[in-house]
Symmetry: C2
Amino acid sequence: VGDPPFGRVGIVGLGLIGGSIALGIRRAWPAAVVIGVDQAAVVDVARDRGVITERGETLSDLRDVDLMILATPVPEIAQLLRRAADEKVRTLVTDVGSTKRRIMAAAKHGAITFVGGHPIAGSARGGLDHARPDLFEGHPWLLVPGDAAEPVVGRLERLVRGLGAIPRRTDAETHDRVMAYVSHLPQLLSSALMTAAGAAIGEPGLALSGRGFADMTRLASSPAEIWRGILATNTDYIAEAVGALIAALPSTTQELADNTRVEDVFRHANEWFATMDHSKTTGGR
Amino acid sequence: VGDPPFGRVGIVGLGLIGGSIALGIRRAWPAAVVIGVDQAAVVDVARDRGVITERGETLSDLRDVDLMILATPVPEIAQLLRRAADEKVRTLVTDVGSTKRRIMAAAKHGAITFVGGHPIAGSARGGLDHARPDLFEGHPWLLVPGDAAEPVVGRLERLVRGLGAIPRRTDAETHDRVMAYVSHLPQLLSSALMTAAGAAIGEPGLALSGRGFADMTRLASSPAEIWRGILATNTDYIAEAVGALIAALPSTTQELADNTRVEDVFRHANEWFATMDHSKTTGGR
């Protein structure tokens, strides 16, 4: 993979994503220094297991890094950017947040040198315990350059490729609108389906479900804590996506009995399904 | 497994389900005679491969069987029941249709000795080519006794157990309402999500989706032909289920920004998710 694009990297938040980034960097560039910041107990575990090379306690411990990666939930990323602005941080900063408009605005307001990031990867189980160096392999990693200079973005792309991911540049608006449809709406649908079905038919009814229902409700185990900030920072596009879903859904007895209406939705679904590459849809979120 | 509950079985429709029933019977009771009825080309293949032991062309070729299994799509099952009534069929008849009220009514109208059936199993790919003797193993197989006598239902339960499935008795109303929530609504949601997302963000957007979206749109490859009859015979309960889903779904920007509203749906979803057994959710439909 060549020389490390960043010799000293600071990571704030050592959960599934932050921990996996640390492991991936250490695998790709064994000489790189990786400083982790999180709760003391988490940082200790990460240091003991060799996930990171140095422990940090606060942002000020990351003063001399070449890259600062904010790998916390979305609301904390915005807070961290404000704090970085207050402390006049000069280092290049990136993040892994699931929405980008609010975060790009916070970085711009604080005059931080910032490139937004979003690795499209995840796992059913979060936390440092499930971090792995190959989490991002083969998955897109979206980068939102904003006002950052070309060489800076190119360096980040090298880092992303070193983790096995496929960097793709986009803008915050496009990012947030696309994610409303492929991530946020699916999450809400899964939770709402589980809730509506459970309330209506209870455990005896749920016991008669098969694989289709299991697929459709797998995301229903997602915790509200992580999603609160995602939903709150993308309400307009999610509302648009929910509206589009409801419009596409045959819902009345009249619509359900209308062959043309039902066949249209199946035909369009079949057509869009066929355009997708179904060979690499494991491991991502 | 003991003596075969039925020495001579006729199966109409040698697709994934009918073919798998034939294979399962032959595996459990090698001496059983299994007569298959379908298009000539399909029956020839099934006979050549040993899926069935005898070929049939019409219902009249099944005059001397002990059990007739209707394994066609729902609308054809109702038609076959009418024809069986016209031909004064005396044999015990069962089916594998995904809705039960319309079919139970058709059997009663024709004074057929009938027990409704619905194996909760399936596969992403249909047709005889994907039939396998273990398709039903570990999955519920719903039986709707209707007016059938106890010994008849008990015999069918022996057959179902011989195929590795778990027989469960229910009534047509309960069956159709539960299936609206765990099967028909999930199918419609998957197709509508694929359609809405494809139309809104196109192929470039879909290329940025991950595993969650793949899970939620796996059913979107289902063909309209099979689902037309299912939806048309369960419109009232499906409309109820779609309404419950829409009510559970935070949809406006106000609702999406309301922490209590969002957390309620996640919390309820988490709770219902936790009540389910997630160890055996592969292979079913």
